[in-house]
Structures are given as C-alpha cells and as structure tokens.
C-alpha cells in the first residue's frame, strides 16, 4: 500500500505540473489511424515550426480519442487556457495554427473543433466543448476514459488518473471479493459470445494447479474492427491492470498478451508499458510488497484469423498450428500446456480496473438489464463520422448510425455487426437495441464490435462473397463442413455475381450454410455462414435481381451492369474524363459527357470520382456470353 502511495504521489506531482503548464503543450494523435492520416508529417512540422519560433513547448503524442474522421487531430493548450482541438490538420494548416496560437495569441475559433475546458469557456472563445460534438455527446467514456488524453508511453500519466487503484483494491480485498465484485457488475465477455466473466473466473480459480495462466486475447482479426488496437495504443496500462486483477483473482503466475502481427505500434507500446511496470514494482516477485507474483509476456500473432478462437490461440502460444480443438475441456480447466488458462478479450480486461475502482454496482448504471456496462465499437464504412465509439449497451442501431455516425451520404442500406462472422441488418432493424440477445435473435452477433455501415453503392451479394472468401482463406481446414462448406458457398456466389446464377443456387446456399452452422467444430465455422443467411433473409430481392434480371443495382458486379452518364446531372466538369484510362468517356468542358460502353472496362474510377451522382449503373444491353456454355459446346 505504501509503495503504491509513493509511486502515485510522484505521478500526481508530474501530472499537476503539466496541468499548470507554464509553456504551451501540443497534443498530437499519433495512433495508427492518425499516422495513416499523416500525423507523423504534422509532428515533423510542429517540431520545425517550434524551432523556427524558438518557442519551448511540450509535445505529447496521444492515442486515438475517437472521431477518426477528424484525424490528424492537433490540440494546443496555452498556459492558463483549456486544451483546444484542431481537426484534419495538414502540415500547412499546422504551421498556420501554431503561428496564430503561439505568436498572435489568436485561438482561431473558426478552425477549432472543440475545447476540453469548462462550459463557460464557450462564450469566451466562441468554441464549443469537444465532448459536445454530435458524434461524442451520446457516448459514455469508461473504457476509453484515458484514450487521447494521456501519454500512453508514460506510466505516470496513467497512475495520476487513479491508475492501478483498482488493482490495489483487489489486493486489499482478496480474490473472493474480486470475483464477487465482477459478478455484481454483470460483466459479460467482450469478445463476442457474452459469457459471464465471473463464471469463467470461478471455474479457473477452483481448479487446483501449481501453475495457471491468464491470456489477453488481442488477436483482433475481424476486418473492420480496431477497438482493441486503439485501446492498447491509447491506454496500454488499463489492459495490463486488468490482467493483474484477473491474475490475482484466479491465482495465476504468468500472463500472455496475444497481439496481432499487423499491430506493430500496439506491440511496441505494450512492451514499453511492461518494462515500466517492472521499474515501478508492479510486476515480478512480491508485487508492491504484497504476497503476489506475476509476469506478463507479449506474444505476436503470425497472421491467422482463426487464432482469435481461444483453443486455437492456445495452440499458437504452444508453438503449434493454430487449429481449434473440441471443448470441453475448456481452457479454464486445461489450457496452455494442460494448465488452467483464463482467456478474456482485451476490452474485458480494459473494463476491469473501472469495476474494481468504482464497484460492481457503479458499472450497472450503464446499459440495460442483463447487458450492463458500455461497449466500444468501430464505426466505419459509409457513415459521415467514422471512428471509435463507446456507448452503453442497449442503444439502438439508429442512434449509433445517425446520431453518432451522422448518417450516410447516399441512402442507408445495411449495417454489418459482429465482423465477418456477423450478419447484415437492414433498415427494418435500425431500432434494434445493440445487446447480446437482440443481435443474436436478428441472426447476427454482437461480436467484438465492428460496425460497418453500407449505403446503396454497396452490393450485398458481393459483400457476402467477400466475407465468405475471407473465411475460406482463413479456415484452418481441420473440419470438413467448414473447409468444404466455405468452398461451395464461395463458388456459388461467384457464379451468381458473374451472371450465371440459377434459382436453385439460393437453396444450395441456404442448405450448406445451415449444415455448416450445425456441424462446424469451432465458433468461427459455426458463425461463418451468418453473412449469407442474413443477406438471404433481409436482402433476398438483391439476390433475385442478380439471378433473374442479371442486374447488379449497386453497380459492383462488373458483368451485370453498364455505366451510363445522366446528361441532366452531368455538369461537364471533366473529372471523369481525366481518370478514364481507356478513353471511354469523351466530352467538352461544361457540356454533358458521353460514355462509350464498348471501350469501358468498368474500373469504377469515374463512378467514384463523380461529385454529382451523374454516373449510374444500368442493366446491360450487350449480349451476354455464358462461358460455361461455350466450354460445354467445345
């Protein structure tokens, strides 16, 4: 206890110094998403500009604060003023803002997106509060409470904001009380299946063994999901504290974090955080003077989606091919090297410090009955405000897509929940609350939390094909139904999207999908047909149009439509003429252009380039050659 007080006091001093800053502080979001938007170039410009101005300032690289569509985000905190955020900062813009803020004391209210101070600052500055932005206002920040606000590479920042207090509470109250508190909170595993967290813990705690393991599953393989990455990059200690708490509760001695190889920055930050923990006495023997020994090792995944499944993950940690095995025995009884192993999702670990700090009852205030707490989602696709969000469970899809996401540019068509193993839900489901049971009864799953929004320019037959192709590639090949089932489904969908579809194909798809659901060995194979089953259920007409009319309404399946320019809408801007590599589009400036179908290769560049929706897909007029028939006659 005293050791903790000591390290925390030091951290608080450092944090207060920062809060009462005498020189400007510049915060820059440099998580992977910020970097993809060009944050590292901005960082260079900031350093150069400060040098030029001979101005002293702290530069703090922070994690993702959520609204990725505003990246790169640069915040400036002048002495005595709240932190002010500027969005979509380019190198030129950064220079301009720094010049105004540091040299002319002008906060550029027109360029600022929000401040982090009190509401009274609104009228003073003409800038609104950052967390009052339409995307952020309906959100609750529990798991992400530190993301984007602290330096993830500085353990003192985390400690100053009550970091490791939850772990101390756990140490003080003993393992039974910890499990009781988790039970009280109603927390369910955030990996997707929604199994009660405390139950898993209890099973693992009761198994007698000289060695036990705790594993953090950060093998976030779902394409379109990046919640775990953002959490680890923005606040690695939150996850590590959760791991300590769980290890203490089940009496484990060794922890693993299994991170995807595609997340190098997350790996780097975790390793750094772990070495800081060693320095502070938070890992190793007799942690903080208590009778508790624990160490954590970072394992990098090697690029296999199926390793997100717990038994496959264990095989991978053991140095084997990542193939799932039948359960029981569950890993909580027999996992790594046959020893009891507790596996939880990254986000579950990220929530734990909050529960142990504030109590299980406190956690229940968020969410609905049976679905307590908050959940992070990655909101991406065709919504206006893309990014990482955190909402109480039970919020409707409509609130998420429209209030937080700001809706879509073209009419909304579908939202895919639960990643490649989830399902596509239609407009009719927009009022469905997002919780474990409602998602399952609509034919989808909660999954780890990817939400991909699609508008009318997305073809759902093509999307189902995309997901199944993904899973065919990632299937470990161990059980027949998955290996052969995905193959049949992909082949059938290929056939439909190239225009050879027959009515009986739909029945084939359905029966194979259902067979796979019933017979596949692991959770992956059982849920892989979900995209097919949900699109067949909610978007059947789109399949029928592909099969009967040989037409793809979204203009994606290249054989099933022709591009056409709507002369009334075409302004003759010439943008499409420039991108057309085959010269199929011709026309004078300011006059409607024409498109020669015979030269068009349907690369879609003109469609994506046109700002006036003047290019559309229409049913094809060209005679269609069925290649399979030609083969037959030869």
């Amino acid at each position: 206890m005293n050791e903790y007080k000591e390290i925390r006091e030091k951290a608080l001093n450092q944090w207060e110094e920062l809060a009462n800053n005498s020189i400007p502080i510049i915060y820059l979001g440099t998580a992977s998403c910020g970097r993809a938007a060009g944050a590292m170039n901005v960082l260079k410009t900031i350093e150069e500009t400060l040098e030029k101005f001979r101005q002293k300032a702290h530069i703090i690289q922070v994690g993702c604060i959520g609204p990725c569509y505003l990246e790169p985000l640069m915040d400036i905190q002048l002495p005595g003023k709240p932190r002010i955020s500027y969005a979509n900062v380019t190198t030129q813009k950064a220079e301009k803002i720094l010049q105004a803020c540091l040299k002319e004391n002008d906060l550029l209210p027109k360029l600022a997106v929000g401040h982090f101070g009190e509401e009274s600052f609104n009228s003073q500055s003409g800038i609104q509060r950052f967390f009052d932005l339409p995307m952020l206002k309906p959100q609750v920040r529990v798991i992400l409470r530190n993301c984007g606000l602290i330096d993830p590479e500085n353990i003192d920042h985390y400690l100053a904001l009550d970091g490791y207090q939850g772990f101390i509470n756990a140490l003080e109250s003993g393992p039974e009380k910890v499990i009781h508190e988790v039970k009280e909170s109603g927390l369910r595993g955030r990996g997707g299946a929604g199994f009660s967290t405390y139950k898993k813990w209890e099973i693992c705690r009761l198994v007698e063994s000289d060695e036990k393991y705790v594993v953090c599953n950060a093998d976030e393989g779902d394409p379109g999901a990046f919640m775990n990455r953002s959490l680890i990059e923005g606040d690695p200690h939150a996850v590590l504290e959760g791991l300590l708490i769980a290890a203490f509760a089940v009496n484990a001695t060794q922890g693993y974090i299994y991170v995807r190889a595609e997340y190098p920055l997350a790996v780097q930050r975790l390793k750094k955080a772990i070495s800081q923990m060693h320095q502070k006495g938070l890992l190793g023997k007799n942690i903080l003077g208590y009778n508790f020994n624990f160490d954590i090792r970072v394992m990098e995944g090697a690029g296999a989606f199926v390793c997100g499944e717990e038994t496959a993950l264990i095989a991978s940690i053991e140095g084997e091919r990542g193939i799932p095995r039948p359960r029981p025995p569950y890993p909580a009884e027999s996992g790594i090297n046959g020893k009891p192993t507790l596996i939880n999702n990254t986000e579950t670990f990220g929530i734990l410090p909050n529960i142990l700090r504030n109590g299980g009852n406190w956690f229940q205030q968020y969410g609905s009955h049976g679905n307590t707490g908050t959940k992070t989602f990655s909101l991406v696709g065709k919504v206006r405000h893309t990014g990482l969000i955190e909402v109480p469970l039970g919020m409707t899809l409509r609130q998420i897509v429209y209030d937080i996401g700001g809706g879509t540019e073209k009419p909304f068509k579908a939202v895919q929940t639960g990643g490649p193993l989830g399902g596509c839900l239609s407009v009719a489901h927009l009022d469905t609350p997002v919780d474990y049971e409602s998602m399952r009864s609509s034919g989808s799953i909660m999954g780890s939390g990817g939400l991909i929004v699609m508008d009318e320019s997305t073809c759902l037959v093509d999307l189902a094909k995309f997901f199944l192709k993904f899973f065919r590639r990632e299937s470990c090949g161990n059980c027949n139904s998955c290996r052969i089932g995905t193959r049949i489904m992909v082949d059938t969908l290929e056939k439909i999207t190239r225009g050879d579809g027959e009515p009986r194909d739909l029945a084939i798809l359905k029966s194979v999908a259902e067979a796979m659901q019933k017979t596949a060995l692991c959770g992956g194979g059982q849920t892989a047909p979900n995209p097919i089953l949900t699109t067949l259920r909610y978007f059947l007409s789109e399949y029928e149009t592909h099969i009967h009319e040989k037409y793809c309404p979204a203009a994606i399946c290249s054989r099933l439509f022709d591009y056409q320019i709507i002369t009334d809408k075409c302004t003759g801007c010439g943008r499409c003429v420039k991108v057309c590599s085959t010269g199929a589009i011709q026309g004078q400036l300011k006059e409607p252009h024409t498109l020669d179908i015979s030269r068009c290769i349907k690369c879609r560049l003109c469609y994506e380039t046109c700002r006036f929706d003047a290019i559309i897909g229409v049913p094809t007029k060209q005679p269609y050659f069925n290649e399979s028939l030609i083969e037959l006659t030869l």
């Binding site: 992977s32 998403c33 970097r35 993809a36 938007a37 060009g38 990725c68 569509y69 990246e71 976030e220 393989g221 779902d222 394409p223 379109g224 999901a225 990046f226 990455r229 995807r260 190889a261 595609e262 190098p264 394992m299 990098e300 995944g301 090697a302 690029g303 296999a304 989606f305 991978s316 940690i317 053991e318 140095g319 084997e320 091919r321 990542g322 193939i323 990655s378 991406v380 696709g381 065709k382 893309t386 990014g387 990482l388 895919q416 990643g419 490649p420 990817g450 991909i452 699609m454 999307l463 995309f466 997901f467 993904f470 990632e474 470990c476 991108v579 690369c603 879609r604 560049l605 994506e608």
Partner: protein, 150 residues
C-alpha cells in the same frame, strides 16, 4: 547464410517448443524471410523436426519463404476498405506491375501482398508501404506514391 548469424537469435535461452513462432518471427524480421538454414538451425535447437517447423510456419500467413522485394506493398482488403474501394487499389497494382498477391516484381522492386485488415478502418482505403500506412488512398494517389520508391 552463416549459422552464426542465425545463432544470435537464439541467445536468450529460447529453448521451448513454444518459442518456435517468436524465433521464426525474429528471424524474418532480420532476414526478410524464412530460409532453409534457419529451419535447420531451429530444428536442432528446439529438437523438433524440420517438417514440423514447415508445417507450423506455412500455416501462418505472416511467414514467407522467398526473398522479399526492396519495398513491401500491402493493400488492405478488410471490410471497410472493401466497401470504400480497396479492390480498385489491388487492381491498380496487379495491372501496373503484372503481379498478384504474394509475388514480387521481376526487378525485385516491390513485393506485394493483400492483407485482411490493418486496423485503420476509419481511414479506408489503406495501403502500407514499407511499414508506413497511407490512408484515404485512390488508385491515382497510389500510382503517384509508388513512383517515389525505387
């Protein structure tokens, strides 16, 4: 390749079967690919057969068994990137250089890979070149960008 250079990777008491994947990863990080010498060496060190090592390594998409190009281009074909036109970027590469995923250009300038998700979905479509991630890519931007790599 000298066994000595590979020997370096095994110095920190890595002797369990569970260390196979980290050892392969470390080797690939340093040498770019998994060579036959590497497999032979690890086989002796960990006392497991070369066949077994190939079995494990070939299961994971991260490992490659041929020398990579001077620059690595990875096009993300995750869901968000797919919806935002990632396929167009993949087509741009295969049309321009005449290579498919997993192949290298003849002059060994680029090796090319299509990956499932780089986790920068809000910046879709995404391309990674030599570990640097570029967001909101279009075929046009990609073409210009690749010209700067020799």
């Amino acid at each position: 390749m000298e066994t000595d250079t590979i020997g370096l990777i095994c110095l920190d008491e890595q002797t369990e079967a569970g260390d196979l994947i980290p050892m392969l990863q470390q080797h690939q990080k340093e040498h770019g690919y998994i060579s036959e010498e590497c497999v032979r060496y690890i086989s002796e060190k960990l006392k497991i057969s070369e066949n077994h090592i190939y079995g494990v390594a070939s299961f994971y998409s991260q490992f490659r068994f041929v020398q990579p190009g001077r620059h690595s281009v990875r096009v993300c074909l995750g869901t968000a990137c797919h919806v935002q036109g990632g396929t167009l970027l993949a087509n741009e590469i295969s049309d321009t250089f005449g290579i498919q995923s997993g192949e290298s250009t003849k002059d060994n300038r680029f090796d090319y890979e299509e990956v499932s998700c780089l986790g920068c979905c809000a910046q879709a479509s995404v391309v990674e070149i030599d570990g640097k991630i570029f967001g909101k890519m279009t075929p046009d931007k990609l073409r210009k960008n690749l010209k700067t790599y020799e």
